[in-house]
Amino acid sequence: MDTPQDERQLKRVTRRQLLTLTPLVVLGAFAVPKLRRPLLMGGQKFSDWASAQLFRTRHPATTFPDSDLTPLGRFPYNSYDVDDPEIDLESWTLTVSGLVKKPGAYTLAQIQALPKVAQNTRHVCVEGWDVIGNFAGARLVDFLALVGADPHARFLTFACADDYYESLDMPSAVHPQSLLCYEMYGRPLLPGHGAPLRLSLPTKLGYKSAKYLTQLTVTNELGDRRGYWVDQGYSWFAGL
């Protein structure tokens, strides 16, 4: 680039240089109310896509010694509706449908007959806090094998007794630490923690670990209802 020798030349050169910054104006779209939501949703979608790329089914979440456990009495729970949806534990079943060979109602005894896994893992809330809890239950991947789920299906959707709902990508669902959890700290789930059956997903933010499970559907389509908090604007993938 030649050095301008006088004011006139400098003006010409600087004007041209300033124009090369005009692509920055594109960011102004974030200030337009009509465009803001689609742009931010696009950003979230891209983040979810990148999160799915980063996810490794074989990479375990850190597990902790018992001495690191948060005492059960101080394990907080966020419930979206009620602390206890008053489920009749005697007649409770998990209804399985969708792309499975053996749909139907499964009892807690059937789930408990699967190999039991207990693990001390970190439960991270989207708010920023976390606790280390002891969770025990059947591997979700074992249960999917029991019901003959299509291994190529893309999603699982869950419905809950308290009208909460969630959905999960298949790679996260078959992660060996993803549990259908029926015990915490060696005891059957307390009503506040999702009795009789909840998800425990150490590779996901807390809101993905739905409680009070009543229905599981294996599907390739998610539809409009992707998750209670997801539909409020939180990330769907929510992977840690």
């Binding site: 030649d2 910054l21 806090w129």
Partner: protein, 270 residues
């Protein structure tokens, strides 16, 4: 930038024949270095006498572009980050649940946790892309040598501090950036890198468990992420004050790249 058109000597001689209605006054000089095609012959109105100036192209495009992208991204990331922080204003595990730092809602963006996360996770990509553009350009072009703080700059820091804050004598200007500037700008790049690395741990503590361990764990990463924000918040007011004190010529160079008569070019005029 196109090369200034050089007009060959024989073309100059032919020129009056191409446009016979005008003629070159005797002794008129044609500026061979003018950047636009030379209008031949020169107008009858005498050209205003122009003063020779010196100018330096201080900031290449990648620097200016990433500077303004960063200004916008850092505004969005810090305000939305403070909104995210308000959901759990602490650095430890859940307990003790104490509000360690109170953040007033007026300095936040997003309105609620979910909205702030959308802003934060959208602009983190812009911020990381900008960082990659800037660092890639600096190292490929070799520009980093003008701004990177090295041990050789250490002796020059105190005289600059004395000049800026204690009204000491002004140290001689030797280059585009003085040692204190190099220190500040190098520090902001490190703050950016630290923000990204700690942010990655907060966003993906399981996938990047090794990085989390290096930072002393998930909770520490949250603390370091906040410390990096404090670093930026300490830099920005001083940076803005300096920009205001150094005036328009200095400020506009971050838009146009060119700075008129920079001090380090001072010397006998041609």
């Amino acid at each position: 930038m196109p090369e200034p058109k050089k007009v060959p000597e024989d073309k100059l001689k032919e020129a009056p024949q191409e446009q016979p209605q005008e003629s070159l006054p005797e002794g008129a000089k044609v500026d061979l270095n003018a950047a636009e095609p030379v209008p031949l012959p020169v107008s009858r109105i005498p050209a205003p006498t122009v003063e020779t100036i010196r100018a330096a192209y201080e900031h290449p495009w990648a620097v200016r572009f990433s500077h303004w992208l960063n200004a916008i991204s850092l505004f969005v990331l810090s305000t939305s980050g403070l909104q995210i922080f308000r959901a759990f204003p602490s650095f430890g595990p859940r307990l003790p649940e104490k509000v360690l730092v109170h953040v007033p809602p007026t300095v936040t963006l997003g309105g609620w946790l979910g909205g702030a996360l959308q802003w934060h996770l959208t602009f983190m990509w812009i911020f990381m892309g900008t960082g990659a553009l800037y660092l890639g350009d600096q190292f490929l072009s070799g520009h980093y040598r003008t701004v990177l703080f090295t041990p050789r700059d250490i002796p020059g820091v105190w005289p600059m501090v004395r000049h800026y804050f204690l009204f000491g004598p002004k140290p001689p200007v030797t280059g585009q950036y003085n040692p204190l500037q190099k220190l500040a700008y190098t520090a902001t790049v490190l703050l950016g890198v630290a923000s990204v690395l700690t942010g990655i741990v907060l966003y993906k503590p399981v996938q990047f468990s090794g990085l989390a361990w290096l930072m002393g764990g998930f909770h520490r990463a949250r603390l370091w992420h906040f410390v990096a924000l404090c670093g930026f918040l300490a830099f920005i007011p001083g940076h803005l004050l300096m920009v205001i004190l150094h005036g328009w010529n200095n400020f506009s160079s971050m838009g146009t790249g060119w700075k008129k008569n920079p001090e380090y070019l001072a010397g006998p005029s041609e």
